[in-house]
């Protein structure tokens, strides 16, 4: 399936989904006017990919600086999808990067990880 590459905008994240390699990445900030317009296509591509990914390993890096509440909702939907995929035999590794001094992003990572039993969730503190 075709890769999904979307450049970041002022208020939406950079998307790099390399499906062939099983490497996915969301990076930057997310507080768009309409979160469903931004996350709809991302979610659809992810859904299609995991449906055919049984037995494969997926690494998904989240390197987000800030996201608003409607983006948080969209992220939760993605995590639920990944959890179901992991339950169904896809090996899913999520790396949640956050700046070491940023308690807000650390807490979001911890909160999201609580719901994930079959996904390997790594909280990764970075400098700066």
């Amino acid at each position: 399936m075709e890769n999904l590459m979307i450049a970041a905008t002022e208020r939406s994240p950079e998307v790099e989904f390399d499906f062939a390699a099983g490497r996915l990445s969301l990076k930057g900030e997310s507080y768009p006017e309409d979160a469903s317009a931004v996350f709809g296509p991302i979610f659809a591509a992810l859904e299609q990919f995991v449906a055919e990914a049984e037995g494969r390993e997926i690494q998904f890096d989240f390197n987000l600086i800030y996201f608003n509440s409607s983006s948080a909702k969209a992220l939760m939907n993605m995590f639920q999808l990944l959890e179901r995929a992991a339950q169904g035999g896809v090996r899913v590794v999520i790396n949640w990067f956050y700046a070491a001094a940023d308690e807000t992003m650390q807490e979001f990572g911890e909160d999201f990880s609580e719901d994930l039993e079959h996904v390997t969730f790594n909280l990764v503190a970075t400098e700066g």
Binding site: E10, R11, Y31, E33, A35, Y66, N68, S69, S70, A72, K73, M76, Q80, A99, A101, D102, E103, T104, M105, D111, E114, D115
Partner: protein, 189 residues
């Protein structure tokens, strides 16, 4: 009210002085757009960074600012809509950010329809009574649930605001027309 030219400076200095005395960093009143939200938010972060505000506080203030401004854009009862090549939606309201007693405060205000008052009041009262852990649990619960279609994500936005606040949120409603109220929400961080 027309101000004579020779009184312009004192007049506007008094106006600005009134804001300065209240510790206001900046205040915006009028038609808000997503473009203004981005620019104000960016300037706010730059100012706090220059003042050596810690990262977590910057994040909290910024987050409350964004949620409040997006609430105005979505729910203000005073909107102008149009289409000149692209769809434009402008919503009237006010956002004020300042410091008092060593804390940041963010106030947003806008007009809302009377029919929307009871539901908003009930949501805010619920949040006001909750402690930090309850707010956090409520946030997670709402995040897991299917979106409430009519509110376009309002519930989770208000919970996010309450979650970042350092003391219980304050709000007030005042009737301004037969079917409209002035609503304001104050958050301290």
């Amino acid at each position: 009210m027309t101000i004579p030219a020779e009184r312009l400076a004192p007049h506007y200095r008094a106006f600005k002085g009134m804001l300065d005395e209240r510790g206001i960093l900046f205040s915006f009143s009028g038609y808000l757009s997503e473009g203004i939200l981005y620019s104000l938010g960016d300037t706010l972060r730059q100012k706090m960074t220059l003042d050596d505000t810690d990262v977590t506080t910057i994040k909290k203030v910024f987050s409350v600012f964004i949620e409040q401004a997006q609430n105005i854009i979505r729910y203000s009862a005073e909107k102008v809509l149009g289409n000149f090549g692209k769809a434009v939606e402008l919503s009237s309201g006010m956002v004020t950010i300042g410091t008092e007693n060593g804390r940041f405060f963010i106030v947003c205000a806008n007009t809302i329809l009377e029919e929307d008052v009871p539901r908003l009041r009930q949501r805010l009262e619920t949040l006001q009574k909750m402690d930090k852990d309850e707010i956090k649990a409520y946030y997670k619960e709402q995040l897991r649930e299917a979106p409430d279609e009519k509110s376009r994500g309002a519930t989770i936005g208000l919970i996010e605001i309450a979650r970042r606040a350092s003391e219980p949120i304050q709000f007030d409603f005042e009737r301004i027309e037969d079917d409209k109220f002035f609503f304001c929400l104050k958050v301290s961080i």
